[in-house]
């Protein structure tokens, strides 16, 4: 692995580093630079302060603050949801129920606007809740408030934080905790003095991602937020981008403010992480302390999980499925008003909806596969992230995660549709794939990077000693050992790509739809039931795919490690 050992290896290092930078520049950096240029250039004049001026000009300051406030509240609420769950899954026998992991991904698989729609249909006046329980009419209006919005967004995003926290909790060996308990610490004291501090660095990472996802989110503000009159930056950006008069300059100015906020958070997070991160896994295998769940504690745990399942999946999907089955939505829940017609229309062969469904799955399949390949390449380049070039590669590849999707898409259009662009990618299938790859590269990279970090370099050295050429060692040893991380990254990418809406709306070539844009179009056209049926089918297929994937041996191995 030493560069100097072999002249061909040495040049490979140089070439591949250059290739990585080129790739990142073309994929991410140039499009983002195009955005910044648009933000600060008005009629050929460069004005670096334009974004700030815009903020001062109108009442955008308050929108900016309510966006940040929303981000903070969602962090708090997701923590309240995810931390106990992560603890239960990591430290009690409930953790053996692996299927729960897939089920808890469902909220995340659900397009956010579908989730909000589900809640709204359930809670609104004359909604399903009131139809089932007329007495509830007194409390339902309270739901349409800032608190309700935080709740909906948190129920959508918490699985993300949960996965991160659970992994760390599992790594915090049982003996650290047991040592505390033998030395006189009660459960609460242990949790506060030992578990929380050790959790802090991954929590910071998770909280950052939640924050970024919240302030970059469009679906919920566009549906629920608008209904309660709560405006955030993305809705303002969208206003400038999709209603007359179109003003990219202002939109990108706001976007660059969001980006700045995200980078600030990222900086705080990286300081926290480096300050408070500890090597948790020692030489010997970790034996995780499992609490027994007898009597009350078991009941409370299952109750918690049950309530979480009902609120995060049960209620929204009750509404979504009901809406997809209703013959007349004005008639509501009534005998004889249910039909499977929408599903049979939806799934009839050769229909527009089938085409959209197939498009979605093939697009996400292609995009996630390529994203995993690129992500693996970059993850290997980042390696331990010690050298400066490695740090830069790491930062650049994470950027798409810190910028609202719509902003990236505008950048991509500006870049790939430039008159001087020699590659005719714009307005083609390839462009959609490229967009998905860029949007979801950070996920694959994270997963493969984590996996790569666990592989002891000595395994590769043993390969070299045994006579394996570098390429042979890569193929026979490194690659197979990376497969679990690649599968995890692929799964995540596939899942989110499959429901991607914001980018698809703008970037899909004419005459092409995905399931997400199909759903959106149905809502716009008034065929709400069709849209809901599509959501059910699409999420259902993804869930089944994931459950199948979970039974694969390679995936299981990843769960073990």
């Amino acid at each position: 692995m030493k560069t100097k050992t072999n002249p061909t290896l040495f040049s490979y290092q140089k070439i591949s580093t250059a290739a990585a930078f080129l790739l990142l520049a073309v994929l991410i950096l140039f499009p983002l630079l195009m955005i910044f240029r648009t933000a600060i250039e008005q009629n050929g004049v460069i004005d670096l302060m334009a974004p700030l001026r815009l903020l001062g000009q109108s009442d955008l300051t308050s929108v900016m603050f309510s966006t940040l406030w929303l981000g903070c509240c969602v962090i708090i609420a997701t923590t309240v949801l995810a931390l106990p769950l992560a603890w239960m899954m990591a430290k009690t026998a409930i953790g053996r129920q692996r299927w729960l992991d897939v089920v808890f991904l469902i909220p995340f698989m659900t397009p956010p606007y579908i989730g909000s729609m589900g809640w709204m249909l359930f809670m609104q006046k004359n909604g399903y809740m009131e139809q089932i329980l007329p007495a509830s009419a007194k409390i339902t209006p309270a739901f349409f408030s800032f608190g309700g919005m935080v709740m909906i967004m948190s129920l959508h995003l918490f699985p993300f934080l949960y996965l991160i926290l659970r992994n760390t909790l599992e790594q915090i060996g049982g003996s650290t905790e047991e040592a505390a308990s033998v030395h006189g610490a009660s459960f609460g004291y242990r949790f506060r003095r030992i578990i929380l501090p050790l959790l802090l660095s991954s929590y910071a990472m998770g909280a950052l991602l939640i924050f970024v996802k919240t302030i970059a989110e469009f679906g919920t503000p566009a549906t629920f937020g608008r209904k309660i009159g709560f405006y955030v930056m993305t809705s303002e950006i969208h206003k400038y981008i999709s209603s007359w008069p179109i003003d990219f300059g202002k939109a990108t100015s706001l976007a660059s403010l969001l980006l700045t906020a995200c980078l600030l958070m990222w900086y705080i997070q990286s300081i926290l992480s480096s300050r408070y991160s500890y090597r948790l896994t020692g030489g010997k295998g970790v034996r995780s302390k499992k609490y027994s769940l007898r009597g009350w504690s078991g009941l409370i745990c299952w109750l918690y999980i049950g309530i979480l399942l009902i609120t995060s999946i049960g209620i929204p999907y009750f509404s979504v499925i009901t809406a997809s089955l209703l013959r007349l939505r004005g008639t509501g829940l009534a005998v004889g008003n249910f039909t499977l017609q929408h599903y049979s229309d939806l799934l009839s062969w050769g229909s527009e909806s089938m085409e959209a469904l197939v498009n979605s799955f093939t697009l996400s399949l292609v995009a996630s596969t390529i994203a995993v390949l690129i992500g693996t390449f970059l993850a290997l380049k980042v390696g331990q992230g010690k050298r400066l070039s490695q740090k830069w590669i790491d930062l650049f590849s994470l950027m798409p995660n810190t910028v609202p999707g719509i902003v990236i898409v505008v950048g991509l259009i500006l870049f790939w549709n430039s008159p001087w662009m020699p590659i005719p990618l714009y307005n083609s299938y390839g462009m959609v794939v490229l967009t998905y790859i860029i949007l979801f590269l950070p996920y694959t990279l994270q997963y493969v990077k984590a996996n790569n970090g666990q592989i002891d370099p000595i395994l590769l050295q043993a390969g070299a000693i045994s006579g394996g050429r570098p390429l042979y060692v890569f193929r026979r040893i490194l690659l197979p050992l990376l497969i679990p991380g690649m599968i995890a990254g692929w799964t995540m990418t596939f899942t989110i790509a499959n429901r991607e809406l914001v980018a698809s709306l703008l970037i899909l070539p004419p005459s092409m739809q995905t399931s997400a844009t199909y759903i959106f179009a149905q809502f716009e056209q008034g065929a709400v039931s069709m849209g809901m049926a599509m959501a059910v089918v699409s999420v259902g297929i993804t869930t089944i795919l994931l459950l199948i994937l979970q039974t694969l041996p390679a995936y299981r191995k990843q769960q073990l490690s």
Binding site: L121, R226, W244, L508
Partner: protein, 312 residues
């Protein structure tokens, strides 16, 4: 046609960006392709999405024909000289004069009228005037589409103001007092009325109401007696088009009897005066305000801002 290859480079293909309703756009596309043999690549979206896409593509435009749902936006495009004049369009002369450009820079091939859409299960005595919705019995029961998202709602507000002058604002202020809620684009405003969460939409587009009614949903529409605004839906050829000939054929087709019939079966008002619909109120049956389209175009931005600030 899932695997659409870059249509710009494909010599014979016409690229159309069209606002809804989706079913109609599809039918027109199919009809046009069948009639002329010219292939059409269609991008469907709201007026806003279409404009945004055009803006992003500005340096290297792809589109040949745009079909919008908002006249002022189209007027702005024409003013910026982005549309190609085609005064020779067939049946140009039969179009409603007010809605189309005399030089043929755009053609309003259809229109929708705005009215009060209400839930028939909850409303026993339908309102007859805009002012009715400001009465206490309608407190918190009315939606109005967001003018920043719905071109037709904007047309109504600016049209109403252009007819009533500045005192027109008092209606919207009363609405606000009475708990009228801004609620997304047209369909989003209508949906709660269908499900019964709200009782009525002010300035709802009529074709959606007719369609929902035909589907059996408990909704109906009234046009207030003092008059309303009609929101025309214009189409135009983009100047940078590489396929001007095919684009002209598309415009001709839009204005043909065949396409106009399709328009009526989508519950829209036909753009041509000589065609009548039998499934909805015709232009002559709808009381209208005398609106000033130029004034409306000039004041749309300022009105939107004022209106949304009022309702925030």
């Amino acid at each position: 046609s899932g695997s659409a290859q870059s249509p710009t480079k494909d010599a014979g293909t016409l690229v159309v960006y069209s606002a809804g309703p989706e079913g109609l756009a599809k039918k027109i596309q199919a009809g046009f392709e069948a009639k002329t043999g010219i292939k059409v690549e269609m991008f469907q979206g709201t007026t806003g999405k279409i404009l945004s896409r055009m803006e992003a593509e500005k340096s290297n435009p792809v589109v040949d024909v745009v079909v919008l749902a908002s006249l002022p936006s189209m007027q702005a495009l024409a003013k910026e000289d982005m549309t190609l004049a085609y005064p020779e369009a067939a049946n140009h002369d039969k179009l409603v004069k007010d809605w189309s450009d005399t030089d043929g820079k755009y053609f309003s091939y259809s229109a929708s009228a705005l009215g009060i859409v209400y839930n028939t299960k909850q409303v026993t005595t339908p309102p007859t005037s805009w002012a009715d919705l400001a009465k206490p019995e309608w407190k918190d029961k009315v939606n109005i589409p967001d003018p920043s998202l719905s071109g037709s709602a904007l047309d109504f507000i600016t049209g109403y103001l252009s007819a009533e002058g500045d005192k027109g604002w008092s209606l919207f202020e009363q609405y606000k007092q009475n708990g009228v809620a801004i609620a997304g684009a047209n369909q989003e405003a209508l949906d709660p009325v269908i499900t019964g969460a709200k009782s009525a939409v002010a300035a709802g587009v009529d074709y959606m109401a007719y369609k929902a009614k035909a589907d059996g949903e408990p909704v109906d529409i009234v046009y207030p007696k003092e008059g309303t605004v009609i929101s025309p839906r214009p189409a135009a050829i983009i100047k940078t088009s590489q396929h001007a000939d095919q684009a002209k054929q598309f415009i001709d087709y839009l204005l043909s009897d065949e396409a106009q019939q399709m328009v009526t079966s989508a519950y829209l008002l036909p753009g041509r005066t000589d065609i009548t619909a039998d499934n909805r109120a015709n232009l002559s049956d709808i009381p209208t305000y005398p609106v000033k389209w130029d004034w409306m175009g000039e004041h749309s931005e300022e009105t939107t801002t004022k209106f949304t600030n009022l309702y925030k």
